[in-house]
Amino acid sequence: MLGRRRWVKAIVALGASALWLSACSTQKDAPQKEAAGKDPSVPAAAEPWKVGAYLSLSGAETQFGIETKEGIELAVDAVNKKGGVKGRPVKVLYEDDKSNPQETNNKVLQLITRDKVVALLGEVASSRSTVGGIVANKHKIPMITSSATAPEVTQIGPFVFRVCFTDDTQGQMGAEFVVKTMGKKRIGMLYASDDVYSSGLAAQFRDAVKKLGGEIAVEKSFIKTETNFTTYINEIRDAKPELVYAPIYYNAMVPIARQAKAAGMPGSTFVGGDGWDAETLIQDAGDEMEGAYFTNHYAPDVPWPNAQAFLKAYKERFKRDPSSLSSLGYDSAMLLFDAMGRAKGDTPESIRDAIAETKNFEGATGTITIDPNRNADKSIVIVQIKNKKFTYYATVNDKAAKP
């Protein structure tokens, strides 16, 4: 027993001394920092621009965060190689929000108040972009989200922008593609009822199809943790729709594709949204999904020159094809740097004004114009799954689908 008590004492002592030491060191640090800030001998021009990026680098959506970060890194390298913005290099401070809204709030506050960033990049998910956007808008720091597609995000206030299209537009364009381009009138729907992305797209699509003269023959919703879709698929199959709109994430689409094939519905009867855009879908259900179409931000073989340049740079550095998230991360950073270069001053406010004035910015995901609602006005790509590859099919309404 005595042994254990001694251990406890030792640990307590260690902890106390560590605390004391850290207190001392912060006290020492503090005046130094102040001095550095006031020091006139440091030339302002050499000081790098501080831009904050908050991303899900751990937790449930790690993959998304990492892909976005890769895009941002490429953009930073590209701009610094050209001598930076207004002669000053750009430094991006990355913070991990752990895929958690609470943590997002803390990290964004930290970036703004402690690191004094001039602008923010992030987040992948709409939910966390909303949290970050509220903080950024309150502190008047411009923020560009790369891939938050929920319409509400940019409605927060004048400092929140995005470089992707919104779910509203995507749902409508999906309907236009299905009804006008492909000429299908009898349409089924399958979506996750407790997922804002999925049910939001479904609602927009439903309205648009009805407006365009189509008919929703059957509609089935599931909860997003569902994995057994056989009963749903049987129901949909029996209603005999010409096409099924399935705006869901790839992770649910894999079992759906497999089970649909077993029930006699080929993958080519499905049309989806950007949630399908993941290599996993092709690896795990490439055969089953052959011939399916979906609306997306980007495809590796889009014909735009900037996209090809990005593709080359990305492949050189990461040795694989970039995802939409990487290309959107790249575009969000590039657009921000472009705006910083055009801004009249170096303050967050003037950068905000410059972002708002962005017109015909040539990005990897197409030509972006920031509209008065701070959304990106850009074209939507239709991607077809062909020979186990995401292939560029059309920019919405550009060419007629083969029967």
Binding site: F222, T231, E235, Q259, K261, A262, T280
Partner: protein, 295 residues
């Protein structure tokens, strides 16, 4: 319409037998230790990962029989080991050191939750949060038959283990009174270990079958099936082995039936409503026996 209901019934049975396999692990541990082993859903998840690596390593699609059987056995073996480890690390020390103290029921519950979080994050660290799909070894219709048959044969084997073997007798003795069982010369810690191993092995089997049929593998997958299995164990009467099977089948079937209605998005609501209804009528669960707590 009748055809539709029949089809849903069949799917529901396959789904339910899988839930039942996982529910057995909860119910067996509860029966003996009066402990809800929250880490069980994570053992299930780890089993799924182990099965995935086993099947891929053994050739996957190219050798479906060898890979399927070999991978499943591998997953079962290592999950059994993991189950035992969890018990030895997180529960056994508390049991021996907390003996006779007031909060002996609550502390293992907290370590169980801790173990669950730990395993989930460990999986994320080791395997990343990526979703991975199992190679498809059999067409889905056949996979479902395999699930149904293997789940039922395993359950029959389990009944045999519990009712016809010496070890089963020891398990039942422990569930009546651990101290008395010890006095009768039963090595309680070994029996407890074997209970955990059995439960984990069944969970791993369930996990591999589940993934072969319909799901991808990812670190948080245990939560989904774990909640349903836990509910199944409670509906059936927690601590009661046939009860867990019955509960699993019921949840599977109720779940599938709701999908036929327009309220399929409310599946969990209906499942939990069923749970509340059952418990209101029979607070001990469908097959649970009312026992009088002696003070």
């Amino acid at each position: 319409m009748a055809m539709k209901i029949l089809n849903a019934l069949i799917t529901g049975l396959a789904q339910g037998s899988m839930i039942a396999l996982v529910a057995l692990g909860y119910t067996m541990v509860y029966g003996i230790l009066k402990l809800i082993n929250f880490a069980h859903s994570e053992v299930f998840m780890m089993g799924a990962f182990l099965g995935f690596f086993g099947i891929t390593a053994l050739g996957g699609k190219d050798a479906p029989l060898v890979a399927g059987v070999g991978g499943t056995l591998l997953a079962m073996f290592f999950a059994g080991l993991l189950g035992m480890l969890v018990e030895r690390i997180a529960y056994a020390p508390l049991r021996t050191r907390g003996k006779g103290k007031a909060n002996t029921r609550i502390t293992p519950l907290v370590t169980a939750l801790g173990m669950s979080v730990l395993l989930q994050n460990l999986a994320q660290l080791l395997f990343t949060a990526q979703y991975r799909g199992y190679p498809q070894l059999l067409p889905i219709e056949d996979t479902r038959k395999v699930i149904f048959i293997s789940a039922f044969s395993v359950m029959i084997a389990l009944q045999f283990l519990v009712h016809k073997t010496w070890m089963g007798k020891a398990m039942r003795a422990l569930s009546v009174n651990i101290e008395a069982a010890r006095l009768m010369g039963i090595r309680t810690s070994r029996v407890i270990s074997i209970t955990f191993i059995t439960g984990s092995v069944l969970a791993a089997l369930g996990a591999v079958l589940y993934c072969l049929d319909q799901s991808q593998v990812y670190p948080t997958m245990g939560v989904v099936i774990g909640t349903r299995a836990f509910v199944a164990a409670v509906i059936g009467g927690i601590g009661n082995i046939p009860g867990a099977m019955l509960g699993g089948l019921l949840i599977g079937i109720i779940g599938e039936m709701t999908k036929l209605t327009a309220y399929s998005g409310l599946q969990d609501v209906l499942v939990f409503t069923a749970l509340i209804a059952v418990l209101l009528v029979k607070p001990t669960g469908l097959l649970g026996k009312a026992s009088i707590e002696k003070v």
